[in-house]
Symmetry: C2
Subunit: 173 residues, 2 copies
């Protein structure tokens, strides 16, 4: 009967897949991080806050933010960032452009990682931020268990005085 | 009777001016390019299409797009790009990050430059694109006269076969 069920719902299933926005379908398809944090819907549509090129691990990054984060960045309220701010970092391996070899551009997608500011909710880890990362094009949650955030925090400790954030919003008109 | 007409509509006209978003007011403050192209409203809120680091002139770039361009990028319809697509490039001078010196990040804002696809409207310059750039934090239009676009086109000629566009959309989940 399984075949029959699939046949009966075949057409509507196809329509259901076609209908939702990209943002909605992407969230439902991706597993939560081991600490329970969900991939933010629509993050690929968020505005740019900054970018970087890490020459130590040969990656290009664009830092984006949700509406709370972008407003805070533009108003200069980033130390501390306000509750509700989410910062996203999109990371790619680097490659010289064929069309302009002196330009380094994104190659394979590496991961998308996020910081979620909520001073009360995330007071327990000592930072006021929730941490999460989804790896690769299949967006596999990073970390074996909920303790993975300690690895994020250890790396961000040098910027503890900047509310644990490496990113300084890029100057924009 | 004209004065009477203006008086009758005075209040609603004031409300109409007060209501627009920040994006609309920012456009009105910036002069059009010498070829008549206006700075696109809201470009700072556009999603990311790619990024680059030009090591020949020490600048970091993030390439963003309007809704038509982002849809085309995600669907792989970029050669040619569809009419209505606008690509924006945000350019900053580079600087090593104090907090992580092996990361190169944006320093001073250099300019925002745009390509506007309309095969019919811009057939005359041989590319099907309108070209414009606004320089610096005060967004001064680039170019002495309407012929400045030839400078853009000359530089983009190596990618003529890619619909005159250097950017290849970055891989995203």
């Amino acid at each position: 009967m399984r075949t029959g069920v699939f046949s009966a719902f075949g057409i509507s299933a196809v329509l259901a897949v076609a209908a939702p926005s990209a943002a909605a379908s992407e969230t439902s398809a991706v597993k939560a991080a081991p600490n329970g944090i969900e991939l933010p819907a629509g993050y690929k549509d968020w505005p740019v806050i900054s970018s970087s090129h890490r020459v130590d691990n040969n990656t290009l990054r664009v830092i984006v933010g949700n509406d709370v984060a972008v407003r805070a960045a533009r108003e200069g309220h980033t130390n501390p960032w306000p509750d509700g701010a989410i910062l996203g970092k999109l990371v790619w391996k680097e490659a010289a452009k064929d069309s302009w070899p002196k330009a380094i551009a994104p190659a394979e997608f590496v991961h998308a990682e996020f910081m979620f500011k909520d001073a009360a909710k995330y007071a327990g880890n000592g930072t006021g931020w929730g941490w999460a990362r989804w790896v690769g094009m299949d967006q596999t949650p990073y970390g074996k268990d909920a303790g993975f955030g300690q690895e994020c925090i250890a790396c961000h400790t040098p910027v503890k005085a900047n509310d644990w954030v490496f990113t300084l919003p890029a100057q924009l008109p």
